[in-house]
Amino acid sequence: MKPILSIDNLKVRVGGQEILKGLNLKIMPGEVHAIMGPNGSGKSTLANALAGKPGYEVTGGTVLYKGINLLDLDAHARAGEGLFLGFQYPVEIPGVSNLNFLRTALNAQRLYRGEEEMDASTFLKKIKEKAKLLLMDFEMQKRAVNVGFSGGEKKRNEMLQMLMIEPTLAVLDETDSGLDIDALKIVAEGINTIRLPDRGLLLITHYQRLLNYVEPDFVHILQDGKIVRTGDKELAKELEEKGYAAVA
């Protein structure tokens, strides 16, 4: 079986400073990986570099995604190939409604893959269903993307987009931050629905809390641009008790 993601000795610079210093990671189909680490260790840099954000300069290493060189692709093509990034700070887009945005995105991805467009009624039916699952008010989807949304609503909106897009690999950058305990459970349920044998998940988080609801197969500790320790979910618990300094 081919890995979904295979990162080998990845080095990334941001603003002239080397943040990732030789990172290795392999995600097989059906696996859920969690990356934990202190502030500034490079967690978000990894997520942004994978998604192709401008300003994240790859200076070394390779990233194979489903066997293709991910770093050769534009950001929209990476999305079209099935890579989804759940943003730590979801972006507000005044003047563009959620519905319009998501339908355009969904169909752009389908066009990229040579699939047929999703018609408006199927789209509406599906989004209503997914919004219900996340206990979101569907009416909010008629408003501009993330404008006037609370921190928790923005994160839930990210999850709604993810459930609609159904990515092959979802990288969720601190999706749990800014969520109260009830919202966290709902979001976790949402994440679990895309936990399928042919998919992969990479959770980036500060805390173990989310991992109580979305159980990871592997937990990695990222420190100073490298993965310094890998374990199972027990490692996350150990971290929570003792802190990074003692464990890593």
């Binding site: 192709g52 401008p54 929209h76 999305a79 563009v96 752009a108």
Partner: protein, 428 residues
């Protein structure tokens, strides 16, 4: 011979041939006199004209056409299902639609038939302009529309088709009057028929009597290397309201003035404009809002986009006269620069002589939000499409002010096509 002397000489030669009676001839002479007095076609040193590059008009010595303008009826598509008036080089094509309470005539015919409106037709507006005065001197053709008391005109599409060759200058002059309590919705379009039709200069004077409402939509189209200039002068009486939505896009040289005189208590004017300029394109949008009586309101919303080597300008003047107490006047202009070679100019001017007023103006300039662009691309939308969506969203305040759905989607499509073309041009 200088350009001015040429104009004077040619004017003398052609005056006998220009249509209209004694009144019209006198008005023409007055127009030419003022045009010359004002120094002719303004150069870049004239403060109000510094953003309009009219050199080609001056240098190429555009004058009255020496050969007949295109007479064959061209193909054109109406946009709406409203009654249609097509005007070819100033003359109504076929017969104007018969509408209850609405009189539509050719300007010259109207001058003979109803001479009382001549003063309105000849009016120089609030601030004298050399191009407007030249228009008066040389105008040939145009429309006269009168909407009777309390009549309702649900929609009227007017297409001005301009033909001719590059040496032509065509001056069109219209008058549109709304009697007390009348309501109208009008679409103004200009379409140039030939690739290089020269210069079209269109002046339209509007008069809104007490309690009248006019909603005007202006869509200007122009072929490469041609010039389109014009002015709408709108008088708004007591409790009357005027709204104008205009789209200026893909225009090589365009200057359009909207002058509004809020001359009655409680008069209201709302202007919305979307200006887009890419390579080889320049738009100068000029507004002058005069509050001459108390308790009138005005609001201006302008959105300008400068693409690769494009140039836009907005010069917005609000004058609140001494007795115009309780005036409410707002002006807002946001600008988006898509490429470092693009240029936007913003010149807000507020001249306030009354002391009990609420007036505001705001101007911003920015670039495409890179964070939003990446967000959209991460969701699968290619860069060019994402940019187009952001530009459309930026223009939303103007486009969404259109209540008519057909017009709204037409504007949206036009903006999208412009974005696509503008990006292609950059790549070339």
């Amino acid at each position: 011979m200088t350009v001015l002397e040429t104009y004077k000489k040619e004017f003398k030669e052609i005056l006998p041939a220009l249509r209209g009676g004694q009144n019209m001839a006198r008005a023409r002479e007055r127009g030419m006199e003022r045009f010359v007095f004002l120094g002719g076609i303004p150069g870049p040193k004239a403060e109000d004209w510094r953003y309009s590059d009219l050199r080609a008009i001056r240098a190429r010595h555009l004058s009255r056409p020496k050969r007949p303008l295109a007479q064959t009826v061209p193909r054109f598509e109406p946009l709406t299902r409203w009654p249609l008036v097509a005007v070819l080089n100033g003359k109504i094509l076929g017969s104007a639609p018969a509408l209850e309470g609405v009189e539509i005539l050719g300007a010259e015919q109207a001058l003979e038939k109803i001479p009382v409106w001549a003063d309105e037709y000849f009016s120089p507006g609030m601030e004298e302009s050399p191009l407007e005065r030249l228009n008066l001197a040389l105008s040939e053709g145009g429309l006269f529309i009168n909407i009777a008391k309390n009549a309702v005109l649900e929609g009227l599409e007017i297409i001005f088709l301009e033909g001719g060759d590059k040496k032509n200058a065509h001056h069109l002059r219209n008058f549109i009057g709304l009697e007390a309590g009348a309501t109208a919705q009008i679409l103004f379009r200009t379409i140039s028929l030939e690739k290089n039709p020269g210069w079209t200069n269109m002046v339209s004077n509007f008069s809104l009597s007490e309690g009248a409402h006019l909603s005007l939509v202006c869509d200007f189209e122009q072929k490469e290397k041609s010039f389109l200039t014009g002015r709408n002068f709108v008088k708004v009486d007591k409790r009357a309201s005027f709204s104008q939505v205009s789209l200026a896009l893909g225009l090589t040289a365009h200057r359009f003035e909207t002058e509004v005189n809020l001359m009655g208590k409680g008069a209201d004017a709302r202007l919305f404009a979307a200006l887009l300029a890419g390579r080889g394109e320049a738009v100068d949008f000029v507004t002058r809002i005069h509050h001459s009586r108390p308790q009138a309101k005005s609001r201006q919303t302008v959105r300008a986009v400068a693409g690769f080597e494009g140039k836009t300008a907005f010069q917005g003047r609000v004058v609140v006269e001494e007795n115009a107490q309780k005036t409410v006047a707002h002006q807002n202009c946001s600008n988006l620069i898509l490429d470092p070679s693009g240029e936007v100019n913003i010149k807000p001017e507020l001249l306030i002589f009354a002391d009990d007023v609420v007036c505001s103006h705001g101007a911003t300039v920015g670039e495409i939000d890179e964070v939003a662009l990446f967000y959209m691309m991460q969701r699968g939308i290619p860069k060019a499409e994402a940019k187009a969506i952001l530009v459309r969203a930026f223009l939303g305040d103007v486009v969404e002010s259109l209540e008519n759905e057909v017009l709204r989607s037409y504007f949206e499509d036009k903006i999208e096509a412009w974005m696509k073309q503008s990006m292609d041009r950059k790549q070339r």
